[in-house]
Amino acid sequence: MRKFILLSALFASAPVSAQQAMTDSSPHADHAMSMPMTEGDAQCPPEHAAMGHCTPQAEAVTPPHAGPSAAALSGPEYAADAVWGAGAMEPARRSVYAEHGFMNTGKILIDRLEYAAQKGRDGYSWEGDAWYGGDYNRLWTKFRGEGAAGKAIESAEVQALWSRALDPWFNIQAGVRYDIRPKPDRAHLAVGIEGLAPYLFDVNAALFLSDRGDLTARVEAEYDQRITNRLILQPSVEVNLAAQDVRSVDVGAGLSSVEAGLRLRYEFVPEFAPYFGFEYEGLVGRTARLARAGGEDANRAKFVIGIRTWF
């Protein structure tokens, strides 16, 4: 059985105050003399006094903000070198610094891989991106494409971008975009920003300058509304613009198309979610007129079903 030094304190109904009374004959005496932090200011710093936590016992002084003294700056820079030798410490030091904060990671996201039921021939499409890198700089690739069931791929593009973090939420991205379909293939310079806007909208806006000198732009936004932790409703919108007519792809100058979608997905795990939804695509302005002149519909409504996955 161990000896009870403070036995009575443990039985006291108000242990703290009981203990206080035991060790200090008078709580006021200890302010004046023996306790730690009795120098008034430290015992009751002004910020606590201001919060009503305590009453200052003496004139309060908050120590000033100041840099290190000359002695604090005296060497050696690395204390352990003197014990273990700089040769042994240097590689370990380099790795401990790198290990705490530097890390390359990557992600491949198939945001949409879907089948579209629509008027006429059904269609299919895919869209996603992948990145690799650290917190600031990443290599980024984006890909998308679509086609009609039983026919060749109508459009397919891939982008290769260097991505640089702009602020906590946004990245600026620059690189090239290559359209494999439709033929003839085209290459573009691409520059854009991508990130999370206030109110939690995922935003992606990019400008493209093609090898034929055509300037176009694309703006996408989507929002994840969690209904439960697994069931997520995602409205999305995409707008395409052109600075001039791009005859080879039947795009007219100005606002060329608007897409609006609503997808409901179920995340069995965050990495895997099937979904279904609707999407509306409308050609606008000169592009719509070009389409109608070519005997095509300017509007299209689709019922989509697909899979979202990442790893």
Partner: protein, 597 residues
């Protein structure tokens, strides 16, 4: 003391080296074996002047699954090391891994070269080699030890360390149990951090949704405007973790024995990688007698929050012949560790259901100094303190002007002008606390409204006054910064790898350090090689600690005597926060040449 009547089961006693080679079976040290009668003199505890520890790849099972672990002497948690104040110890650590390892003696006052942090205190322990730590034991209390290499701590590389005082025990007891809390995942720790980098709040499966939560539409809109989730409590949680008590999952139900009427000392150690626990034993009040190994004036409570790397010793006095559930609930309520205290093996008590996930408030967003009346934001947190709108330390930081209204509502959640120029408000900083307040007196996150007693730092009073009674002569501010979405964590906006300027202290100088939390997460901040006095402003004195949990959007201040020359890590003890960059080095100079050479 006579406990043979308790019918202690003879189970595996793998406290020391002996069982490491027996092949896979669940192996626990004797103190961590279920049905333990507590620490006893005849247990195969590691003690004495020469202690051998062998770090090895191993297997660990919980909940019916088995995965890869790194263990010491073949057990998880690692063996109990029991030392005596005043002795000298040599700890021979053999590394059988194919990678470097290390052991840091958490909370121990040692020469810096024995502190065990690769690249800062020593070169690390290479594969296939044995390193001998040697240092005098100059303190007593409950501590622990763990790897400081990579993410080894997540896979089992941690154990308890108890030091008996040279003189009398500050708090009397009849029986003692060590209670090691930890978190276990079958994911590889690199996968854990990869997921965190890939997807914001990947592990949170309790997000606020359209169909859950009590927030008004206006509050929801204001949180989404800030691009923050008021449900972001723990980065890694029960969606992947099994919460362990002495290496046992909740269903394995580790049981510690007592005899009714005894005073039972429970030495709680939070050895988790990422989990802050709320600890309670329904029906049994707990008297806290030590915090971080240092004696405090006994204070009775019904529940306490133990942040990662903290230790609390409590004494309980069960008087009746019944079992009690010991509950360590994760702070985000995504799961619990559960054990049983009982007079006999096999007895159990009711397990309280998990409580509701806490929701962050504007106080957790650094708006604590604002008068909240009239604001329709705020969640369920504690009300703001009146009269603290512009305390002097904030005025000094330029946060506000005394006598004028507090920082105006229209400034955003990331007002760069509120930060001193030494803080880099860049990609890695998604929030600046506009009006942070001292939160050491706040009830911990999620326990604001519990009807029973909840321990706060203000309740802790040192039993023995700190030896250095000089007031601090200068103040240093350290901002705890981060980017939730990109999972970047740092001090003053600079991750460790970004070349943060070390914190330079003159030997024996006394400084006040303000830890200002510019994030909406709790951060247990730990300094190596020193104890500090946590500035609570209480008349009963300031508790002496090695780790302080800085609440979201709040301030915690400590006074430090820089009496240990050398280089010492200062870091967040959430393993993945540290790994993501929330670490720096404190350099105390000049060196004592006689000691360093």
């Amino acid at each position: 003391m006579n406990d043979t009547t308790l019918g202690r089961r003879s189970l595996l006693r793998a406290g020391a080296l002996g069982l490491a080679g027996l092949g896979f079976d669940m192996k626990f040290p004797a103190w961590a074996t279920t049905g333990s009668a507590g620490l006893r003199a005849d247990m195969p505890t590691l003690a004495g002047e020469d202690i051998r520890l062998r770090v090895a790849h191993d297997r660990f099972s919980v909940g019916g699954r088995t995965g890869h672990a790194i263990t010491i002497n073949g057990v998880l948690p690692a063996p109990l090391i029991r030392l005596r104040e005043g002795q000298t110890v040599r700890l021979h650590v053999e590394n059988t891994l194919d990678e470097d390892t290390s052991i840091h003696w958490h909370g121990l006052i040692v020469p810096f070269q024995m502190d065990g942090v690769p690249g800062i205190s020593f070169p690390g322990i290479r594969p296939g080699t044995t390193f001998t730590y040697e240092f005098p034991i100059r303190q007593s209390g409950t501590y622990w030890y763990h790897s400081h290499s990579g993410l080894q701590e997540q896979v089992g590389h941690y154990g308890p360390l108890v030091i008996d005082p040279a003189g009398a025990e500050p708090a009397a007891y009849d029986r003692e149990h060590v209670i090691v809390l930890s978190d276990w995942t079958f994911l590889h720790p690199h996968q854990v951090i990869t997921k965190l980098k890939q997807k914001d709040a990947y592990f949170n499966r309790q997000k606020q949704t359209a169909t859950t939560g009590e927030m008004s539409v206006a509050e929801r809109i204001s949180w989404s405007k800030m691009r923050m989730d008021p449900a972001d409590i723990s980065d890694v949680n029960g969606s992947t973790y099994s919460f362990l008590i002495n290496g046992h999952g909740p269903n394995e139900n580790w049981t510690g024995l007592f005899r009714p009427g005894e005073r039972v000392r429970l030495r709680f150690i939070n050895a988790s990688a990422m989990t802050i626990f709320n600890v309670r034993i329904p029906g049994l009040p707990m008297t806290v007698v030590l915090a971080d190994g240092q004696p405090v004036r006994p204070v009775e409570t019904d529940e306490f929050q133990i942040s990662v790397a903290e230790t609390y010793d409590v004494i309980v006095e069960p008087t009746s012949d019944q079992a009690y559930s010991l509950i360590a609930e994760a702070i985000d309520r995504s799961g619990m560790g559960r054990a049983t205290l009982a007079p006999r093996v096999g007895m159990t008590a009711a397990i309280p259901p998990l409580r509701k996930r806490p929701t962050l408030s504007m106080r957790d967003m650094g708006m604590g100094g604002m008068d909240m009346s009239g604001m329709d934001m705020g969640g369920t947190g504690a009300p703001a303190m009146g009269g603290a709108a512009c305390p002097p330390e904030h005025a000094a930081m330029g946060h506000c002007k005394p006598g004028q209204p507090a920082a105006p509502m229209h400034h955003g959640m990331r007002e760069k002008s509120l930060m001193p120029p030494t803080v880099k408000v860049g990609v890695g900083v998604d929030m600046v606390s506009a009006m942070p307040v001292d939160r050491t007196g706040d009830r911990p996150l999620g326990l604001e409204k519990e009807p029973h007693r909840v321990l706060t730092y203000h309740d802790l009073a040192p039993l023995v006054p700190f030896h250095d009674k000089r007031p601090p002569t200068r103040t240093i501010d350290i901002h705890l910064t981060g980017n939730m979405g990109r999972f970047m964590w740092s001090f003053d906006g600079r991750k460790m790898n970004e070349g943060a300027e070390p914190i330079r202290l003159e030997r024996d100088e006394r400084v006040r350090v303000n830890l200002i939390n510019d994030t909406m997460m709790n951060h247990p901040i730990h300094i190596h090689g020193h104890f500090f006095e946590l500035v609570t402003g209480q008349d009963h004195g300031h508790p002496i600690k090695h780790t302080v949990n800085v609440m979201p959007g709040g301030i915690a201040s400590f006074d430090l005597t820089a009496d240990a020359p050398g280089d010492w890590p200062l870091h967040c003890h959430l393993l993945y926060h540290m790994h993501a960059g929330m670490m720096n080095v404190v350099k105390v100079r000049p060196m004592d040449d006689g000691e360093a050479a």
